[in-house]
Symmetry: C2
Subunit: 446 residues, 2 copies
C-alpha cells in the first residue's frame, strides 16, 4: 500500500509537456518495481516521436503449457484541474472513509497496481513461480491520445503473443457487483468546417444578403438528428446489431432506476434519446451523435454584430457492432454535404476513430474471471457493456488476435477525470485477491 | 489638415480602459479646438458612472430667426486590432493615393472634423458670425456602447433644442454619388441561454440518454429561420412596411450590380436571403436574424468528448419600420420557448435594442442638404438607406422631436472597424464645402 501511495504522488500528467519528467519518473517507478518483484526483461521502450512517453514492458514466461496473459494498464493521469475543488491535494494521497483520494487512484494507477501487486504476491506465494505466463504492457499516453502503443503493438505482435489481455481500467456496475465489460462502443470524431464569405461582415451592412457560416453549422448539426434522437444519416443504422436476448435479460436484472439515474447522475429535467429503447440499451448498445463545441463569430462579453465567415463544430458518433468507422465517416461526410445550405461550403474532417467491439462472454478467459470474482466477492458477476471506447481492445483483437478481459474494480462515483478522484480500498484488496484467484483458475483447466 | 492629423494621432479607444487618458485627451482637443474657432460654452460633460467618457458641448447661437442645427459626431475610435495588418501604424496618419490612412480617419474623427472645420471656416468667412445657429454634441462612447449620451439628451432636452440634427457618420453609396441616408434598421440583440444536465458529462457514459445543451442551441437557432431566409417567428412580419414606390424607383436607378457585390464585398459562393426581394431591399428594408456566436462545450485543439450541460447563442434581429423592439423581443422569447427540445430549458436574455427609423426625404433640412451637395459634387444626391442601426437618430426624434440629416462622406471601402481605415481627401474637402453651402442655404429660405 505504501508503494501505491508513492506511485500516486508522482504527477504523471501526460497531456502537459511541463510534466514530461514526472511521467518518465512514473514509468521508471513501474519498471523498477516490477523488476524487484521478480519480473524479467523489465524495460522502458521509447518512441522516436517528440513528446512521446515510454512504454513499460516486463514479463515472466516460465510456465510452459499454461496460458499467457497480456496485462495492460496506464501509468499516466489526467490533469487535476480545477485544482481548487480538491478536498485534499491531488498528488498527496489521503485516506478517508475507506477510500484513497488522489489523481489516478482509480484511473488508472490504482487499478494498474492491482495487476502489479497480484502478480508480485502470486510470485511470492509460489516461491518465485507463477501459475501462468504474464507480459506487462503499460503505457503513459492513454490520457493524452498518444499513438506510441499502437505502433508498438503493430510492430511487435510476435513478441506480445498471448492468449488474452487483461485490462483493469473500467468500473463495476454498482458497489458489491463484480462486473465484466463485454462490449464497447466505437467512435468517429471529427469537425464540420463551414466557409462562407471571404471575411467576417457587419450584420447591419450585409444581414439579409450574406451567408452566415455559424447559422449553416447550426442547420447542419440540427439536420443530422431528429428531435426524437434518431440519427438521420442515410444508411447509418444498416449494420447495427441488437444486443443478444441473454444480454437484454441480464441487463433487465441489474439494479438500475432510470429516475435515480436522471436525478443523481445527469441532473436534467428529463432524459433524452431514441424512442423505444431503455436507458441502458441507449447508452450501451445504440449509436449516438453528439456535438461537443461550436466555433465561430464572437462569444466574448457583450454584443458584437458579426456575420461569421467561417465556423466549425466538433462532433462525434458512438458506434455499436457491426458499424464500421470508415463507412460511417463516409456517410456523415455525405450527409453534411447534402445538408449544406446555400452560400457556404461544408466539409467533414475526420480526427480519429475506433471500431465498436464485443467480447464473447462464453470465452473461458471471461468465465474464469467471473468465477474468480464470485469467489472473492460472494456475488455473481454481472456482464455489462460500456458506452465509451477503449481503442486498445480492438487493437489487441485485430493485431494480436486475442480477446480482452475488462475486469474493472472502480465504482461509478470514483470521479475519474474530475476533482476528488478516489478508489475504494476494499475493492482494491478484493481486486488483487480476484486476480490471484484468476491466475490459479486459469492454470487448472477443468 | 494638420489639426486633423494631430487629432488622429490620439489613440482614443473607448472600449479599452487602458486608453481612458487618451480618450479624455481627444475630448480636450475637440473642446479647445472649438473654443479657439469661436464657439461658445465649450465644455466637457462628465458622467458619474465609472468608466464613462466625457461629452463635448459647444454652441454659437447668435443668429436669431435662423434655424438651429445640432451637430453630432464622436471622437472615440475602434481598437486597431489586428495591428499587424496595417500598412502604416493606425495612430500615425499616412497620406497615400489621395487618402488619409489612420484609425478613425472615416469613423468618425475625419467626418466629425468636417463638421468642426465647416463651422470654423464659416465663422472666419463671416467675420465671427454664422448664417445659422449651431450646437455641437460630441460623444466618446459610440464605439463602446456607452449610454452617457442617452441620459444626457433625455435630461437636457430643453438646452439641446434644435430644428434638426446633422450626423456625419455614414458613407456615400459609391464614389462621386453624394448620398443622404433616409432609413435605418433597428435591432434586438440578446442571448439564447440553454441549461440541461447539472454538469458536463462524458459522451461515452451518457450519450444516448443525457440532453446536450449545445445541440439544443443549434436546434433552436435553426428553427427560427427557414433555409429560404424567412424568419419563422410568429407575428414577426406583421408590422413590416414596404419601402415607398419612390424609394424603390430611386434604388433601382443606383449603380448596383449584385454579382459585383457578391464577388467584391462578400466573397461567398452565392448570396443568401429572402426569396422575392432584391439585394438592396434585403439589406435596407427587410428584417433579418443573425447568429453571432455559440458558446458551450469544448472548442480548443483536438478532441474532447464532452456533452455540454449549458450553452448559449448570441443572436440579433435587424428591424424595419414599423416593427417595435419590445414586441419583437417578446415574440422571439416565445419562439425560443416553443422550439426548446426535451431535457433542457431555454430562455432569451435581451441585451439591447433600438427602433428602426425613417426620415422624410421631403423635409426641407434634407432637401437643402441634397441641394448643397449637388452644388459641390455636380451630381444629384441619392437617397439611400442603411441596414445598420444608429440609436442616436431615434433618440433625437423621440426626445428632441427633430429629424436627423445623415450626411455621410465616407466610402464603402473605407475599412471602418478594420485595418487600414482611410478617408478620401477630396471627399473630406468637398464635405466641408457642402456643409458650408448647406448653412448658407438654410439661412436663405426661398
Amino acid at each position: 500500500m505504501d508503494d501505491l501511495l508513492r506511485f500516486l504522488r508522482i504527477p504523471s500528467i501526460s497531456a502537459d509537456p511541463a510534466f514530461a519528467g514526472e511521467v518518465r519518473k512514473a514509468a521508471d517507478f513501474v519498471r523498477s518495481w516490477l523488476e524487484r518483484a521478480g519480473l524479467e526483461n523489465a524495460q522502458l521502450i521509447d518512441s522516436q516521436e517528440a513528446g512521446a512517453h515510454p512504454i513499460v514492458y516486463a514479463d515472466w514466461t516460465h510456465a510452459p503449457g499454461q496460458p499467457t496473459l497480456l496485462l495492460y494498464g496506464h501509468y499516466d493521469v489526467q490533469p487535476p484541474d480545477p485544482i481548487e475543488e480538491w478536498i485534499s491535494p491531488p498528488f498527496e494521497p489521503s485516506i478517508r472513509n475507506g477510500n484513497i483520494y488522489a489523481r489516478g487512484a482509480a484511473d488508472d494507477k490504482g487499478q494498474l497496481f492491482m495487476l502489479m501487486e497480484s502478480v508480485a504476491e502470486s510470485l511470492r506465494k509460489n516461491g518465485g513461480h507463477l501459475p501462468i505466463n504474464v507480459k506487462f504492457l503499460i503505457e503513459g499516453e492513454e490520457e493524452s491520445g498518444g499513438r506510441h502503443i499502437d505502433r508498438f503493438v503493430m510492430e511487435n505482435a510476435p513478441a506480445l503473443s498471448a492468449d488474452a489481455a487483461v485490462i483493469c481500467d473500467t468500473a463495476m456496475f454498482a458497489p458489491e457487483i463484480p462486473s465484466i465489460t463485454t462490449g464497447l462502443r466505437g467512435i468517429v470524431y471529427g469537425e464540420i468546417a463551414v466557409e462562407g464569405a471571404a471575411h467576417d461582415l457587419h450584420s447591419g451592412d450585409y444581414g439579409g444578403a450574406a451567408p452566415n457560416a455559424l447559422e449553416a453549422v447550426a442547420q447542419i448539426v440540427s439536420s443530422l438528428k431528429s428531435r426524437e434522437g434518431k440519427i438521420l444519416i442515410p444508411g447509418f443504422y444498416d449494420r447495427v446489431q441488437p444486443p443478444s436476448a441473454a444480454e437484454i435479460d441480464a441487463w433487465s436484472r441489474l439494479p438500475f432506476d432510470p429516475e435515480q439515474f436522471r436525478e443523481n447522475e445527469v441532473g436534467s429535467p428529463a432524459l433524452t434519446g431514441e424512442l423505444g429503447f431503455d436507458v441502458l440499451t441507449r447508452i450501451w448498445a445504440r449509436p449516438t451523435l453528439e456535438v461537443h463545441g461550436i466555433r465561430g463569430g464572437y462569444t466574448g462579453e457583450g454584443a458584437k454584430t458579426v456575420i461569421p465567415a467561417t465556423a466549425s463544430a466538433k462532433i462525434s458518433l458512438r458506434l455499436v457492432p457491426d458499424q464500421i468507422p470508415n463507412e460511417i465517416a463516409t456517410q456523415i461526410a455525405s450527409a453534411i454535404a447534402a445538408a449544406c445550405p446555400k452560400g457556404v461550403t461544408a466539409r467533414f474532417n475526420l480526427m480519429h476513430s475506433a471500431p465498436p467491439c464485443l467480447i464473447d462472454p462464453n470465452n473461458p478467459f471471461l468465465t474464469k474471471a467471473a468465477e474468480a470474482m464470485e469467489h472473492v466477492f460472494g456475488k455473481s458477476t454481472a456482464y455489462i457493456r460500456c458506452g465509451g471506447s477503449i481503442p486498445i481492445v480492438s487493437l489487441f483483437k485485430q493485431k494480436l488476435g486475442i480477446p480482452s478481459v475488462l475486469l474493472g474494480f472502480g465504482l461509478p462515483d470514483d470521479q475519474i477525470h474530475a476533482p476528488n478522484e478516489k478508489l475504494c480500498i476494499s475493492n482494491y484488496l478484493r481486486g488483487i485477491a480476484s486476480l490471484i484467484e484468476y491466475y490459479t483458475l486459469l492454470s487448472n483447466p477443468r
